[in-house]
Structure formats: C-alpha cells, structure tokens
C-alpha cells in the first residue's frame, strides 16, 4: 500500500467512530469524551489544560503556549531548535541555554521579555504550575511538566535517552498524560551506540589519510555531540568547522563543554585538509562548497542514516547513525516508564507509535500540531492527512 494511503487507513481504523482528532473534539462545550471512564469527572480533562491550536500547544488555564509556531503573548519553550524556538513572542520562559541560543540566532530583541527557569524549578502560571526537566536532546533542552489540580501532563519536546556528553541526561517524569515525539517512531529505527559510529568514522580517516572527511551534522547539538564523541574516542587532532557552525559551537564551549581544538575551515589550503575531519551543515556537504576538499568522504550523522535509501538519496558515502532523538526502543521504553495512561503523539511517525500504545491498553492519539517539523529533515506534509 502506498505510504500516505496506508497512514490514512490506519488513522481511520484506529479512530473510534464519532471521534475525530483531538483538536476537533476537545472544545470546552463538548463533554462526552471521557464520560464512560469516570476518572476525569471530578478533575479537569487533559485537553482543558493543554490543547493543540493553530499557534501551537495552548495552555488556557496557564495563559501560555508551548513551542508556539506563531507569535504569542507568552511562550514556554522546550529547546533552541528553530522549529520549536521562534522569534517574536511577547514573553518567553525557557532555560538559560535555550534563551541564549535564541539570542544568538535572532538577535537581542527576539522577544519582548525573557525569564530563565532551571531544571527542577517550579513556577506558577495562572491556574497551573510549570516545572522543567532535562530532555537529553540538546544543550538546555527541557521537558515541561504542566500540572493543574491533580492532573500532570508532560510535554517532552524532542528527547533522547541515549548517552550524550554535551547535555544533561534525560530525566524520567511520571505523569498522567505524556506528549511524546515520534520522529523515529518505527521499529526499524534503532540507533545503536553512537560511539561505534564514531569509531567507523575514525577507521575511515585512518584508511584514507589523503582524503578529507566531511561530516554533515546539524549545527545545534549534533555537531557538538559528534565532536565530543570524537574526543572521547581519543581523537585529539584539530577539528575543522564550516562557518555556519562556529557561533553555536563556541557557545557550547563557553558553557564548559570540552570540545578540544577547533579551527575554522575557511582559508585552509586544500592539501592541508587531507586526513582531517570537518563538521558542516548537511546542506553544505552536497554543494559546490565541497570542492575545496581533497577527494572528500561525505559522512552524515543522523538517525535517518539507519535506512539505506535515505542515505543513498543524499549521496552519503559514510552514513553515521547518530541521533538527537530517541529511537523506537527509547520511545516505547520511555512511554511505558512514565506510567501515563494517555499518550499524545506528535512529530513524525505517529501512527506506528499510537498503534503500539493502544496495543498496550494505553489511550493514545496523534496530536496534530500544525507547523511542527523535525529540524533534521521535515517530511512533506501529506495532503490527505487532514481529512482523516
């Protein structure tokens, strides 16, 4: 079956009759939703606390949006990737690192006002309390626990439960409703050990000392993680950076992340780049820019590299399966461990994860957030998705 049609079919097959997506059913006036269960009769329904709207995930009782895609009055932001952290909001609440990254990308006036919150810190906003927990995704990334009366919802943003020397490890937060990403929400995505992938890169550098190794990696988080992993593997040569990598990488260093000697690649003679490793944004590795390198080996560090066709499509010669997101095993293990009875799935392969949750007796549905994509590589939205 064709991909989009299969998804559409699944969506229909697993949406009970009379119930459409969360956004459609959750209007405050419609109260039939959970009547049978009784559990929410005396407390608030989760969608009264957090509700997906056009601007993003809206918390009405708290008077804010989480990771809004359009300018709002008050924004609470999980992490610095551009599809989560946008400019133009009135007030922004985020970790110091996230605010700094926004400042670096958008300039001083990226928001009307800002407020710093630390991991573990709890803040009262309107009728809810908001608490930040590490998400293990990139430096400063957070899961946001929103509690209203007895109900706790965790909006995890992007997260990973794997080792990463450049950020605080993921923390498991028990909750009633868990909002999970599904970037790699298919059982074929198993990322393995990132250190092994880095060994693969180093073996290639040793085998081809006359060639340059060009590693495509997203400039916020992935690049620094690859560098840190290289250092952990004992590589202590200077590592070269594409111009677009420099600012954010130096910011990581300023926050105490050890990355060893880094050099700008601009201005370095072609011959001098033999046997070296350069980090560059993925778009640069397939462009004219690569002609300045001697017979470059094009590597790409991404969870997508698990699938051969994806790697080949990009002309990658050395795919490195290194991801900022949890893999299938990570997603399912985390969902189970939160103890949440209800799961909202967003960002990618929702259908498979929703199916898995339902198979475990969990209430689960896709959270149709408009305008949210994976910062790694956004999938073209499917035209027929909306009607299901």
């Amino acid at each position: 079956m064709h991909g989009s049609r299969l998804r559409q079919w699944l969506r229909r097959a697993f949406t009970p009759p009379g119930r459409r997506s969360l956004a459609e059913t959750a209007s405050p006036r419609m109260t039939g939703e959970y009547r049978g269960t009784g559990a929410y009769m005396t407390t608030m329904r989760p969608q009264d606390i957090l509700l997906p709207v056009a601007a993003g995930l809206c918390c009405k009782p708290g008077g804010f949006h989480i990771d809004p895609v359009r300018p709002v009055e008050r924004a609470v932001i999980t992490h610095g990737h551009s599809d989560h952290a946008r400019a133009g909001h009135g007030a922004v609440l985020a970790t110091q690192e996230t605010l700094d990254m926004m400042r670096l990308r958008y300039g001083e006036n990226f928001a009307g006002s800002t407020q710093v919150i630390r991991y573990g810190e709890e803040i009262r906003l309107g009728d809810v309390s908001v608490k930040f927990h590490p998400a293990g995704h990139v430096l400063g990334s957070a899961q946001i626990a929103v509690t209203c009366k007895d109900t706790c919802i965790v909006a995890s943003g992007d997260y990973k439960d794997a080792h990463d020397p450049t950020c605080t490890p993921f923390e498991l937060v028990p909750c009633d409703v868990f909002i999970t990403e599904a970037t790699f929400g298919l059982p074929v995505f198993r990322h393995g050990n990132a250190s092994d992938e880095v060994k693969k890169l180093l073996a290639s550098v040793a085998l081809f000392p006359e060639r340059a190794h060009l590693v495509g990696a997203y400039s916020l988080g992935k690049a620094q993680r690859v560098i840190a992993l290289l250092r952990q593997a004992g590589y202590d040569e200077p590592i070269y950076l594409h111009g677009a990598m420099e600012t954010i990488t130096h910011y990581y260093q300023s926050r105490g992340i050890e990355l060893g000697e880094l050099r700008p690649v601009t201005g370095v003679k072609k011959a001098a780049l033999a046997g070296t490793i350069t980090l560059a944004p993925p778009s640069a590795t397939s462009d004219l820019w690569t002609r300045r390198f001697p017979d470059p080996v094009t590597a790409f560090a991404s969870g997508w590299m698990r699938v051969r066709a994806r790697a080949r499509q990009r002309g990658v010669e050395l795919p490195l399966v290194i991801s900022d997101h949890a893999d299938w095993d990570g997603l399912t293990a985390t969902i189970a461990a939160t103890g949440a009875g209800e799961i909202w799935v967003t960002h990618g392969q929702e259908d498979a994860l929703v199916h898995w949750c339902r198979g475990r007796g969990l209430r689960a549905q896709p959270l149709d957030l408009v305008g949210y994509g994976d910062e790694e590589e956004s999938e073209t939205p499917l035209a027929d998705e909306a009607e299901a």
């Binding site: 074929v188 198993r190 002309g315």
Partner: protein, 562 residues
C-alpha cells in the same frame, strides 16, 4: 560475519573504484582464512547454494512482529531484507554463555548442506546472533540479492593488491581455483608457490583497444598497422583444450571471463581443435551477418531451444589466436599470430567459424574511405553489421588490459541529433556536487502544439569544462526541484541544446517516445542554437527505419563492446 557485513555496507556507499579496492584489500589483510576466501567467493559470484525465497523471510518476521508495525516499516524502508534486518526483535538470550561470533565460513558451509526444512530455524538463530548490518548482509546473501556494484574483476584486483601481484596473474589461474582459495592467499602472502591452473580450457584476460581521435593519426604510420572490420556483435574467447584423459573441453567466455558456453551449445561442436580464439559472435543468415539487434533477440531468451538455434544460427568470426594447441602465442607479434590464425581456421574448416578479413589500405585517406563505405571496401553485404575499423600494430604482443598505442578502434560516425536538455540530476562520487546526468528530449506534436518528449539520458561525452558550463546553466535555469532531480527550462527560445551522439536506435514500448538509444553521449553543446530548432521525433523514426527493418524487440542490457 559482522566484519564481512561491515565491508559490504561500506562498499555499497563508496562510489570510487580505487577506494573500493582499498576497502576490500584491507579486509583481506585483516581477516584470516577461510573467511576472506568465502568473502572473495561472494564478491566474485562464486558461491553456490539454494537461495531462500522472500516468502520465507516474511514468515519469519511475521512470527515475531506486529503485522501493522511491520507493514508501516516495510512501507517506509521499501526493501524486505533491510526492513527485517532493522526491526528484527532478538529472542531473549537466556543461557547464552558468549558463543564465538558467527563467521561467514559457518554461514556459507552450513547453507551448502542445509535441508530446506531446516533453513527457517537456522536463519532465525543467525538473525538473533547478528547486529543490524550483519542481518542485512545475511539476508541479502541467502536470498541471492547481494548486488553492491562490485565486479568480479575488482574483487580479484583487490586480492592481487594483497601480494603486489598483477591481477592478470590471478585471472590466469582463476578457473582452476575454488573457495575458500587457501592456495591463492598463501601465494599472495608469499607463503607458497603460485597455484597451477589445471583447467584444460582457461580464460585469458583480453586485450582492449583505445578509441582513436582525429589528432592521433598524425603520430601514426599506416605501415605499422593492420586494419580489420569492427563487427557489431559480442566479443568472445573460444577456448578448446585437452583434459587429463585427452578429451577436448570447450568453453566460451565473455570479454570479462564469464563462462557463456551454456548459451551457445550450437557452437561447441565446431571448436574441435585445441586453441584459444579471440573473435566476435554474430548471427549469420544465408551467409550474411545480421545486425546486433538480431543477435540481441537471441540473447534475450533464457532458454536455448532448438527453434532458437535454428532461427538465430550462431557464428564465430575470428580475429586473433592466443593459443595453438599447447603453445601460448600471446608473446608473438600480431602479424605472426594472424598467420597462425589463418592456418588454424583453415585447418578447422568449419562453416560456423571464419576469419575476419583484413582491410587493405596504404594511407589514412584510403582507410577513411573504407570506413565510410565498408560495402565497397570488401565487406559487401555484411557492411550493415560493421561499426567501424580496428587498427592493430603489426608488432603488438597480446597484452591484457588496454595498453597504449597498440590497438585502436575507429568507429563509423555515430548517429547525431540535436536535443533539448529537460532534466538534470546530480552525479555520483566525484561528480556528486555537479549536475552531470542529463535527460534530453526532441520535439513532437502534442495535443496543444509542439512539445518536448524525453528520448534518452546521457552522463558522459562532455569535457570537464563543458560539465562546469552545463552545471552552471542547470543551477541558474531550474524551474522545479524533485529530490535530486532538477527540471531545467526547456521552451522554444529558452533552454540548452545538446548535440547527442549514439550508436543506434531500437523501438521501445517502455519509453514514452517509443524509441530507445544505444550508448547516447553528449558530443557538443549547442549554445548557438535555440531549442525550437532542435530535432523532431520524426527524425529519429526515420533513422530507426533506415537502421533496420525489424519487429519490435525488448531493450535489454547488452554485454558487448570492445
């Protein structure tokens, strides 16, 4: 097995030949016997066991996974073996006390003897033991789908590099070797003598010609060369030899050393005398050579039926003799080998095998005239099956490979049309930053007036400079992007005209235009020409009619050329 899988995985992505060689040689260096021998066998296609059917793999995964999750995954990945390799849930490893890692040798030797009913359980055990890449390689191996763009020749060259040997030396002894090639590796590592080839009819690596350019002639003396027709057939080596019991063994090899005897059983009885003939396979009807298209109709058939043999009578046109009975003639100058060949063919006296005639000429002008009109230069009615002339130095020994200045091919002027660039795609490897694969079209009448219809794809023929020019043009004139493909502006007065040269045309129902080109290449960039003046489909159809008057045939990959 995981190490072999790692090699395959890396080779699958590496576009460069020398880099592939380095990867394989390093593998041979790092991995011991007999694993590396089986790897060499896998890479050269020398492994044989009954392949597992995809249905078996599906059953295995169905027993372990949720069908919906498998469906979504397969849908996303698009390849059964890969999907299964990636999502395979390992069985809980109870009581597993660190068994030795699974080796390629174990897999290959087990598969050889394993009964059909035991295969599923064995595969399951292996899948549990291996990692993602290992499972992928295993499934590709057992389903017989191990295609990773490595030629047998490349694998042998990599092995040769292990002992600083010439790959031709391996080719010479190869037919007498078998997996896991312990004797070969022992010799390559200087631990033993070179293995002796006991094959009574071994393959000899072929000598190839360079394409001659106009500018080459100035430096060449016509008196040094012998010319012969270049036939549009299939280059083969027909070898007959006596085995230990004195019986004649006959083998027909393609130019790459592939044994193709089975496809031409009708030629075997004619090869009665021990010797090694270098020549061209052709179809002869009533003494007249048929075009390559006719030969291809025979090649397209899987089963060689008596009717096929009768309708497409095979013929060998000989142009060189590499061995005469026990004697290796390859060191002799061509002019002497040619004499031996004439005697040999005369002695053979068989209607299915004849001599490729030489083309007498005194000057390059005379040869140019002969090449332009083979019919009047002695080729008579066979002229249609001639694609040019070959020039061979009188004093040239038979050297494997493509030695400089010894043999030249001088093709007849190819067909040429002016076509319009329609789409461009990035190339591979070194060319991956350039748009170097071009789809071009010609005009035809559509429902709303003239429109361009794609007629072919070309990715060579241009100079490095021209590549830069086209690349720039593509980038500046892209109208749409679809993944790696760019649509390039192609209107009546906007666009780039490419002069495309090609070897011939065939009808092809698979192409929208109804025609397919053989060996198309970009011969010139026509910046001077507006697209509306490019050729029309009718021109191609006329060429097609002139080319041959044949029924529609399937276009299949052909194994031909010098």
């Amino acid at each position: 097995m995981n190490r072999f899988a790692e090699l395959l995985d890396r080779l699958a992505y590496e576009p460069g030949r020398t880099n592939k060689l380095r990867l394989i040689t390093r593998y041979f260096h790092e991995v011991g016997d007999p694993d590396r021998g089986y790897a060499l066998a896998a890479l050269t296609g020398a492994l044989s066991f009954k392949h597992a059917k995809p249905a078996l793999i599906r059953d295995l995964i169905a027993a372990r996974t949720d069908p919906v999750l498998f469906g979504l995954s397969y849908d996303y990945v698009g390849d059964l073996s890969e999907t299964v390799a990636l999502m395979w849930p390992k069985a809980a490893m109870a009581a597993h006390n660190n068994p030795p890692p699974l080796t390629l040798t174990e897999v290959v030797t087990t598969l050889r003897t394993l009964g059909k009913t035991e295969l599923p359980r064995q595969l399951e055990r292996w899948l549990d033991e291996l990692d993602e890449t290992g499972r992928w390689a295993l499934l590709k191996l057992v389903t017989g789908a191990l295609r990773i763009g490595i030629s047998a020749r490349l694998a042998k060259t990599a092995a040769a590099a292990l002992g600083d040997k010439d790959p031709h030396e391996i080719e010479l002894i190869w037919p007498g070797l078998s997996p896991p090639y312990l004797d070969l590796f022992a010799w390559l590592e200087g631990r033993a003598e070179k293995p002796v080839n006991r094959d009574p009819a071994p393959f000899r690596p072929v000598m190839l010609a360079h394409a001659i350019e106009e500018t080459d002639f100035a430096a060449l003396d016509p008196a040094d060369y012998i010319a012969e027709w270049k036939w549009d057939g299939i280059r083969v080596q027909a070898v007959a030899g006596r085995d230990e019991r004195g019986h004649i063994a006959v083998r027909l090899y393609s130019r790459t050393g592939e044994d193709i005897t089975g496809s031409f059983p009708d030629l075997v009885p004619s090869l009665r005398l021990p010797g090694a003939i270098d020549g061209e396979l052709l179809i002869l009807r009533e003494g007249r050579v048929q075009s390559f298209n006719v030969l291809q109709q025979r090649l397209n058939r899987k089963v060689v039926s008596p009717k096929l043999i009768k309708d497409f009578p095979i013929h060998l046109r000989a142009y060189d003799l590499l061995g005469d009975d026990e004697n290796d003639l390859r060191e002799l100058p061509f002019v002497e080998r040619r004499e031996r060949l004439e005697t040999f063919i005369g002695k053979l006296d068989d209607p299915r095998i004849d001599l490729s005639p030489t083309v007498p000429f005194a000057s390059w002008e005379a040869l140019t005239a002969a090449r332009a009109d083979p019919a009047s230069a002695g080729a008579g009615e066979d002229a249609d099956a001639i694609e040019g002339v070959m020039l061979k130095r009188r004093d040239a020994p038979y050297l494997p490979g493509r030695p400089k200045g010894q043999w030249w091919k001088w093709k007849r002027d190819p067909h040429i049309i002016d076509a319009v660039l329609m789409y461009a795609q990035r190339g591979h490897g070194k060319r991956s930053s350039y748009y170097s694969d071009y789809t071009f079209g010609v005009w035809t009448e559509g429902e709303t007036g003239d429109e361009l219809v794609p007629v072919g794809k070309a990715y060579f023929g241009f100079t490095d400079d021209e590549l830069l020019q086209i690349d720039r043009f593509v980038r500046r004139n892209t109208t749409e992007k679809f993944g790696p493909v760019r649509h390039v502006v192609h209107e009546g007065d906007k666009g780039l005209v490419l002069e495309v040269a090609f070897e011939g045309l065939q009808r092809s129902p698979r192409h929208k235009s109804g025609v397919a080109m053989r060996f198309p290449r970009i011969s010139r960039l026509r910046w001077d020409k507006p697209p509306r003046e490019a050729d029309r489909l009718e021109t191609l159809e006329k060429m097609l009619k002139a080319d041959e008057s044949l029924p529609t045939i399937k276009v299949a990959a052909s194994a031909k050329g010098h």
